[in-house]
Each structure stands twice: as C-alpha cells, then as structure tokens.
Symmetry: C2
Subunit: 683 residues, 2 copies
C-alpha cells in the first residue's frame, strides 16, 4: 500500500514527499489512513485491508470575512498515540466497552494571514475511524464564523445505500429509501451503505456540541461533502477559539450485524462528566398516549381529555402492579388549547389543567413505587421552554419526577429565535442554535437528577456517554405512524432498517408493544406486524427507557403475551447479533444486566423466513428454560396477525433454534436458568 501512495506522490510533487505524507493504521492493521497535502490543500484517504474505501478527499473550512482554512497549508508537526482501555457504561446495550485506537494528530499552518493554524486528529479503530478538526488559539483570532465545512467523503463506487433526506420538512420522520448513491443527493446521517463486495459502511458524527448537525451532500458521482445545517443568516457555525468540531465517523464491517455491535460512536465521546449517576435508572413505562393517537382521548381539555386524575391513577395502579417504573401523561399542562404547533409559547411547564391533580398524582405514584414522567411538549418554542426550565425542573425534582419526555413538534425549520435586534428568525431543528438548546436541557435536567427522553430531537451522537441522563430519543418514524394517516403506516421492513441506520446513532424511544393491531374505528390503519413481532421489538430496538405503548386494557386482556413485556429488561450486560440483513431480517440476543437471563428478538420484513439461532451465547453446562413467543403456523401480518404460539422448552448452549418468522412476523424468547423443577417438568 505504502508503495502505491508514494508513487502517486512522486508524480505530483517534486519536493519533500515523505514529510508531507502521513499514514496511520488501526491496531489490527485492518483500516489504513493516509493524510497529505497536495498543492497546499489537505486530503485524506482510507483503505481497508489495502483496498480503497475513501478516495482522496478534501478537508478544510471557508470562514466569513477572514482568511479561510482551505489551502496553502503545510504540515508543521504530527503526533501519534496508541490508546487501549476498557470502560464501563453506567447503563447501556453492553456493560464493558473496549476503546482501542491509534491516533494521528496533524498540525497545519498557512504561511501568513489570520487565522493560519488548523489541527486534525484521526483515530483509527479496527471497526472504523473518526476525525475532528481543531481551530486552536492563535494570534488575532477570537470569534469567527464558518461559512462552509469542506470535508469530503469520496466513495469508490455507486454503493447501495439506506437513507433519508436532509432539509426535509418532517425532520427525521421518513421511511428509509434504498438506492444507489447516485440517487441519494443530500442525506441525513447515519448514512449506511453496502459495497457490491459486501462491505458495510455507515457515516455519522460523534460528540455533536455547539456546532450544527452535519448532513451529507453529493457533489459529484460518489463524492459527498459535509453540509452543515445553517443559521437563518446563512452562516454555518458561530465559533470561538479553540473550536473542536464533532468527530466525522465511518463504521466499517463485513456483516451488517457488526455495525450494531460497533461502539465507535460512544468511544469517540468524552467520559461521564456527571459523576455519580446512580439516580439514572433505565426502565419501562406505560402512559396516556396511544389513546390520543387513536382519537379516543385528546391532549387538550374537554370531554375526551386523557390527562385526568382518574385515568392517571388507573395507569399508576397498573404500572405498580406489573413492575413498570414510569407513567407518562401527555396533555397535563396548560398550552394544549388551540393550535399549539403555532402557539408553542403558550405552554406552561409547571401548571396543570384543573382536572389533573399534579401534586396528588405525583405523591400517589411515589407511594405506589413508580414515578410520573414529565411531558414537556414545546411546539418548537424553545425560548419559552428555556425561560421555564429551572423552575419546572425544580418542581419536578421536588415531586419525585425522575424523567421528562420533551417534544418539539413543528416543521424542520421552525425554531423561533429572537435575534440581537429583536427580530424573530426561524432556525432549523438541526442547526447550531437548537443543538445548544437540546444540550442545555440535558445539563439543566442533570442538575435536578432528571433523565431526558427527547422527541423531535437533534440526532444522537453518543453524548449519553458524557451525560448519562441523556437516555433516549425519537428521531425516526415511531409506532404512532401506524395509528393514523392515509399512507399505510410503517411497513414491516421499517424496523428491519432502523437498527442499521437511525439506531446506530443511539437508543430510540420507538414506543413498541401494541397488542390491538387493528382499530375498529379506522379500517384504513393498522399496525403492520404480527403480535409476536411486537414483543421482539423490545429486544431488536435498544432503548434504556422502553414504553409499553398500548392502552393498558389491551395488556390486561392478553396476559400471556404481556408476560414477555413484564419480563424483558432495558439494561444489558451484552448484545450480540445472530442474523442480520438490512431491510430483510434481524436477530439480536441481549443478556440482562441484573440476572443471568438472555433475551432474543428476531424480526423479518414482508417475507416470512426461517432463521437459525445458535445458542452458543448461553453459559456452558447450564440448562435454560426458553420461554418462546413465536408466530403461529398460519400467522401473517396481513391476514392473521394475532396467531401467536407461546411455549417453553429446555435448551442449552450446544443447541440451535430454527426461528420460523411469518411474513411481517417475529419471535421473542426469554432464556432463564432452569430450576430442578423445570428440568423435571420439561424433560
């Protein structure tokens, strides 16, 4: 490889080649990166096993009203570092995570002008890489504005990709498209693709703070560049020295499942900054929510108001009886009357409607061993929310409310900001202004020991490592899309794509677990899965806060399948992928962090499948009871979605189970160590 690069250099330059070309490989020599300056412009390229993955790609910035950081560079120095550490997540999909990389930091300088200095740090992992820029302190530079980030990603061919568009009105809430790169013009990340040779690549970013979110824009054939969400005034970043950008990340795997068990995004974030986070506790919740989407209840007060004291007590009783930690109640606070999407400034985050005894219910919940989840819909009016943050969170803390679910329902560019001149500007959900806001909420919540679950969020970039109260987000089409609308809801394949795209960024509050799959009042709508599949989602979709989203009546009427939702935990010791094909199927097993139990979830798209699940993950020499929730022999998401078989069998780690998934179906299994009595009973 080195030979080829040197040859290339030799053709282009006549001076000091070796000084201008730097190389770094991952610890196992799987991924190789070259960095060099050509005609003053910085470029990087990436190989894997000696084969090109990213062709020479430009780096740099255009600045406003000052010298840009785009050309005339030379390398002034470079430093290398090897790092290998295993750290522990306070909660997560895997307890212990190895962070093992080789690092190259390059210092660049222009011969004159201000600014003139820029540093780039590359971290090479066996499962991918990340790099970030630093615009360091330097003479004459304090504040500055970035007009464009020039970072390119030049792919080698017209790979097939799974993507949603950037700058689209409905934020991240679209069905994923599967097309060649040549048909994917401006996309959100994670942006996942497969080469014709079976290599899986996912592009994203890590540690996004005080910087706009990065979309990717195709500039020519298979080359993309960073496309930062701009401010309303057209600038991209309002910065001060020293600016460190988020990491631009690339995950690489020979099988789709390897993307899921890559922890590169987390590894590129800073360690926990909150200290003792024993108050952060993953768990499941129920809530007054799905009934609103079906039109049985309303958010706003009136004859069908959902957030009543009586309803809430029923949900608290249910949560307490069946071991749920939280109870979400939407529509409890002033501001839901009228067109709240237009009038988000009306929301009051401390004052309940008269039919909702806020304090009494909080006390009742506490007495029942559960907590209310504070619902904070803002309608995107974040200045209104920020004004109330401290007071509201202080109140919640006093009332024992341990988590909030925030909401920012509005179009993509609808975040109102009053600028220095007092004029109202509209900002993007994904711009720097809003990134700052989302972060402010997390940090304020941490002060009050409150966990955060964001709907209509900024994308996850692994900040939960640094701020472990940042639990979960929506940020994709969730279960509610099946409840309404004229376009048929989420097709069965939707949740076979999410784990390889949206979920690579972090946990998702998908709100699964719907048992009443069809709705008598809405024949055009339905949940597009079998019943067993609804259970499997608790394992295939990772979230530390998972909702049992259906109305509690539907769980009480189906105690057998409901048993799985009661049992399944939301905090894991380990996660492994047994079968994975993006958009087709997925089998994941996870080990409970607080017991020796394992859980399996397997799902398929519109095509029924037989998948093999070798049980090698179980402890050797132990017998387990497999509590199996699978599609019945005649199940089919369209014609027979309720056909479910619930059985038990004795298994051990030498066995392989054949999972028979119906069209649109799934399978969920709990594995628990067998008692002597189990062994007798099931032999």
């Amino acid at each position: 490889m080195r030979k080829t690069i040197l040859l290339l250099m030799f053709v282009s330059f006549s001076f000091s080649l070796s000084a201008q070309t730097l190389e770094v490989a991952s610890p196992g020599n799987i991924v190789q990166l070259s960095f060099y300056i050509r005609d003053g412009v910085p470029y990087y390229s990436i190989k894997r096993f000696g084969r090109e993955v990213i062709k020479p790609s430009r780096m740099g910035f255009i600045l406003k009203d000052m010298q840009s950081l785009d050309k005339d560079f030379r390398i002034t120095s470079s430093a290398r570092n090897h790092f290998d550490e295993t750290w522990t997540q306070p909660w997560g999909e895997k307890k212990d995570i190895r962070n093992n990389y080789n690092e190259l930091t390059v210092k660049l300088e222009r011969p004159s002008g201000t600014p003139s200095k820029m540093n780039i740090t590359f971290r090479l992992y066996d499962d991918g890489l990340g790099f970030r820029y630093e615009i360091p302190e330097q003479e004459g530079l304090k504040k500055f504005e970035v007009m464009d980030e020039l970072t390119e990603f030049a792919f080698t061919d017209d790979h097939m990709a799974w993507w949603i568009g950037a700058f689209w009105p409905n934020r991240y809430e679209y069905l994923y498209r599967h097309t060649p790169l040549s048909k994917a013009d401006t996309v959100q990340t994670p942006f996942t693709m497969e080469t014709s040779d079976g290599l899986f690549i996912s592009m994203h970013e890590a540690a996004l703070m005080d910087y706009p979110s990065m979309a990717l824009k195709r500039t020519e054939s298979f080359t993309y560049k960073a496309e930062l969400y701009p401010w309303s005034d057209g600038t991209r970043v309002k910065a001060e020295v020293s600016l460190k950008t988020p990491w631009r990340t690339m995950q690489l795997s020979d099988d789709a499942g390897g993307l899921i068990t890559s922890y590169l995004i987390l590894n590129l974030n800073e360690p926990n900054k909150l200290g003792d986070v024993s108050w952060v506790q993953p768990g499941k919740y129920v809530g007054i929510w799905w009934a609103m989407h079906l039109g049985y209840y309303t958010w706003n007060p009136g004859p069908k108001h959902g957030a009543t004291t009586e309803n809430t007590r029923r949900y608290i009783d249910f949560a307490s009886k069946y071991g749920f930690r939280g109870v979400l109640v939407e529509g409890w606070n002033l501001g839901w009357d009228g067109d709240w999407v237009k009038n988000g400034d009306q929301f009051n985050f401390s004052t309940p409607y008269p039919d909702y005894d806020f304090k009494g219910l909080a006390d009742y919940a506490k007495q029942k061993g559960v907590y209310l989840i504070g619902h904070n819909e803002t309608g995107g009016a974040i200045m209104n929310y920020e004004r109330q943050l401290t007071d509201a969170f202080s109140l919640y803390e006093k009332l024992g409310i341990k988590a909030i679910k925030t909401g920012y329902v509005n179009w993509g560019r609808s975040i109102k900001r009053i600028d220095e001149e007092g004029n109202a500007q509209l900002e993007w959900h994904h711009g720097q202004y809003t990134v700052r806001h989302y972060q402010k909420v997390v940090e304020e919540a941490a002060k009050h020991h409150i966990m955060v679950d964001v709907h209509e969020p900024i994308k996850d970039t692994g900040l939960r490592r640094t701020f472990p109260n940042m639990m979960s987000r929506e940020g994709a089409r969730g279960e509610e899309y099946d409840a309404w609308g004229s376009e048929g809801g989420n097709p069965p394949e939707h949740t076979t794509i999410l784990p390889f795209t949206r979920l690579l960024s972090g946990p998702m509050d998908f709100t699964p677990g719907i048992f009443a799959l069809t709705f008598k009042d809405r024949p055009a709508n339905r949940v597009n899965t079998t019943l067993a599949r609804q259970l499997a989602h608790y394992v295939t979709i990772y979230s530390p806060l998972h909702m049992a989203a259906d109305m509690i009546e539907n769980y009480e009427a189906n105690p057998k399948p409901f048993k799985f939702i009661q049992d399944v935990p939301t905090d894991w010791q380990d996660t492994r992928v047994l079968n994975a094909s993006i958009g087709n199927y997925l089998t994941i097993v996870r080990q409970d962090r607080n017991s020796r139990d394992w859980y399996l979830g397997s799902i398929t798209d519109e095509q029924g499948r037989i998948l093999e699940a070798p049980l090698g993950f179980l402890e050797a020499g132990e017998k387990y009871v497999a509590e199996i929730y699978c599609d019945g022999q005649n199940a089919d998401w369209r014609t027979n979605p309720y056909d479910i078989e619930i059985t038990e069998m004795l298994v051990d780690n030498s066995m392989t189970l054949s999972l028979r998934l119906a069209a649109g179906g799934g399978e969920a299994i709990r594995f628990r160590p067998a008692t002597e009595e189990d062994v007798k009973r099931l032999k």
Copy 2:
C-alpha cells in the same frame, strides 16, 4: 393464499373449480405449491410463506410423430403422501440426513389419442421442492421420442443470479457470472439467484439417469424453460414406457449458507442400490499431475515423462509416510502420443508405457498400505472406453486399484457415436447418450469394487446416494486453471462462488493444496490466494476424495502448514455454515466422522475481512486445542501470499473467534479435544 387462487380460477373457468386445483404445502407450511389445469394446459406455481416465488408455469412435452403431452388435459386422480425418515450416508458431508416431505401425485389424461396419460409427482420440503414427470405404461405406447420438455420456471422479478452458460464449448469450465436474470439467457444448473428481498433460490435437477441434462433457457422477461441437451438428430430424449424424468429441483433458503446444508438433491435420489459398500472409502491422495500442468513433466513418453516407475515409487513412499490413501499417476497408459484429444480411440486402459512397471508399482503400493488410482483419460472417445471397461476394471481389481479418475477432455459437443447406419455422429457431453455412458462406468466399476472420480463429467445430481462408489467429479474450473493460460487463472472470488453453485450439485475434485503459489518459469501465472487459503479449501470444498495437488517436494519443504493437510479428513459427521455471502466469503465447520475433531475453513474474495466464528458447535464443557493456520498480519494474495501464522490456543464452545482474512486469504483450524498436558501448556 387459497382465496387468491380460487378467485383467479373463478375468473377463468365456469366449471368444477375445486376438482381442477390442487394444493400441497411443505411439512412446516413454509413452501406452498398449487397445481391446476387452465384451458387444458397443466400449470404449477409456488409460494413461500404465502408470497409468490414461481408464477404460474407451464408443464408438458412435445413428442415426435405422435400426440404431444401438452394440452387438453384433465386431472383424473390425485394422491397424497407424507414421508419422514432419517437415513445414513455411508460417507458424506453429514452422516444422518432427514428426508421429510409432503407429496402430491397428479394423474392427467387427454380425452383421446396416444399417448394420453401423464403423471406428475411433487415433493414439498421446508427447504424447497422437486417434481418429476412419469409417462406411464398405456395402450399403444412403447418407445417414443421427446422433442421438447415444456417445463417452465417463471420467476417473479429480475433476481441477481450466479451462472455459467449452457451449450458453451468448454463444458462447465467457466468463471461464474453475476448478473440479473435478464442478462442470463441459457444457463447450466445449479443456477443460483438472490431476490431483492434476500431469498436465495437454486435451480437444479436430481437423479439424472437415461435422460439428457437440463439447461434453462430464458424465454421471456424472467421466465425460463427446460432446455434439454439434444441428440445429434435433434431429438431430446429417446424413451420407453414407463419414463420417469429426473426431478426438477428448487432449493430455497433465507441465507446463502442454508443452500449448502440443504440435502434436498440427495433426498430425491433413490437409496443405496449397491448393498454392502464397506469397500468405498473416502480419503486423500497425491499424484503425478501438477508437474505436468506446470510443464516440468509430460503425459506422453519422452525425456520429461512423468509416469515413470521411479517417480511413482517416490510418490508411493510419500503417500505411505504421510497417510495418504491414493496415488494418482497420469500418462501411464498407451495413447498419449500425438494429438490424443483428436485420437481418443488410441487409448488403451490396460497397457502401460515401458517405463512404467504397472504391476510392480501396484504391488509396491499395496505393500506400503496405499493404492494406485487408475487414470482413464478417454479424450471423449467413449465407445473405445466402453469396449475395454470390463477387462480394464477386472485388471485394476486384481491389482488392488481401488479408485479411477476418468477424463473426457474435448469440446462440449465432441462425443463420437456410431449410429445404426454406421455413421459417426457428434454428441454433447451433457446429452442422453453420454449420460448413459457415465452411468455405465459407475455401475461397471461397482462390480469391481472401484470408486469413481470423473473429470469433464456429466453434472452431479445426487446419484452417489444410489451408487455410493460415485465419489467425486470435476465439472468446474479447478486448481489447474492457475497453472497456465493468459487470462490470469481463477480469481480469489472463484472458490467463494463454487460452494453456492457447482458444489450444490455434489462433491468436487478441485485438487487444492498448492504451496508454491508462484512459478519461476511462468511469471504471468500464479495461484491467486494466500497460503493459508490453500488449507482452508480442504474444508470449504467438499470432496470425499481430496487431492494434495502440489508436487511432494513443496510439502516436504513446508512441514508446518502441511500438517493441516495431513490431519484434515474427507468424511464428515456434520457440516455447518458460520458465515456465507456468495462471491464474498464463506466459513464452514465440519466434524470428523471418525473422531471428535472439528475443522474450520474460512475464505474471502479480493477483499480482506474480519469474520466472527462462534464455537457453539464444539461439545459443551470440553476444552479443545485450536490449531490455527491464518493469514499473517501483512498477508495479501497479490503482494505477500506466503505470510502465514500457525498458532495454538485453548478454546471452548462459549467462545467466538475473530477470523482475520487477508485480501484473497483464508484460515484453517483444527479443533481437537485438549489433553491435560495441552491445558497446562497453553493456559
């Protein structure tokens, strides 16, 4: 599903619908078949999990000079059967095979004329299906000729397929192409494809006897029909009542690996007809062969003649010392002088050249505990061969020769036949005439307790179940393509495609194990793999007779990697696929039939890979020594093919190994139960 079909019928017919539509599903209700008559024409269609896989497809025959069996049919009766049995292979890739199907037999009749009767039997398995026609005894019918088989296979979309063309001059010896169906016009079977939804389909046939081989010809968009290799007179089949055709087969799997562990082709063959076959013994062999391909030796006599007494004694000594059962010697018998491809009639299968002491060597071999493999190159002159068969095989039997390797080097349509009028005709390698010949050799060999390994064969259709002395075949581009020619040999991906295409038909004598990967006299040629990959092929390519194909000097010079070839068996208790992506990579593990050892082979194409191999197949609670032969950290098939690492480690069935395969590389592992001393040594 039933509903849709009935609706369709309702539109087309006004009479007796239910009587004309028959359905049968596989035991697990995975695969569903419908058979019906429309306007007098028989059709079948196939669904899997309720989704169409084969659209309505025509069935029937055109006969010569009599009424065809193509239309005016009605169903006269039908019968159903369920079968479930586990049978034992005398040798093979898996010892015990379950044969579990639902069968539907349909009897059809035309209202008048001769012939008028035709039966069709469908067997539905969870992993696919087969069907065959019977033209039964009936009034006025004795002999007849088939001009065309009308069987259609109407695929649902433009699936991506891996294929080689039919009626091409070089028989089966081509690199596989990977294109949409719309670019695959007339193809050999196995014909393997993947739907856009991730379903793998492979089309083939089972139990091909006294009938021409079936190619598939694309007739419109994604519909193929049976294209039987014709006789030189244009007829396709010369038949007598009762004619039973081979089974037309379709294997279906949700992952590519499932095709490899599907035993549908074997299950559709008749059980062992040879009785006691304890004389059939799988094993490895060496031989005087590769040196001819490199030009160091010649087949014909002269200064470089390979088949000399002295050379052969060296090979016998080597085989005996290192535990090989057989020694192949090519060019030992009269007939190699001059242009033997044109003059195959010159071959004499009993008479050696003067410098080859046939009897003395056979005795010497016996005394050393090995046997000579009788090489019978025919040049395609099968009448010459058939005339000598009994005498030659009697001689071999007397001399203790337990196996023959036959050869039919010549172009696709070059099999000379003298017809009834005494005229010479040229027949296809794959036509009925030659099918009869190949079968005759197997049956005659069985009488003399001789195992058969056919090069330039008719394709395998599972007849080894019925005739267990039919061991292995070539029937694809083997290792020798790397030795010569101007087109660069077999690219690394070749052996990542064969297991999903050619090898689905049965074992292949690929002749792996080349250690000297480059040739000093032939800089333009080379073996396009790493050294470790050569070892992996012994596991990824199944053959009961496997050659260690290199010259023995090259093994003696490399005793450490050679140890793997010595150890690896060729008869297996079980086979499992751990990773599979057609044309990209493959990991197979197989358990030795005669010990508790397991062997792993993993290979990749031009792209280096990291593959995960969970060791759940090992016996629980046992420690094993993994003897690992893997690509070195800097291995690369182009630049550094000899970089190999040979290590040992203690493992158990709860572990997962990460296989690091270099570009064009591979990995081979032997797992053997650890002794106490191993445990101490390796802890």
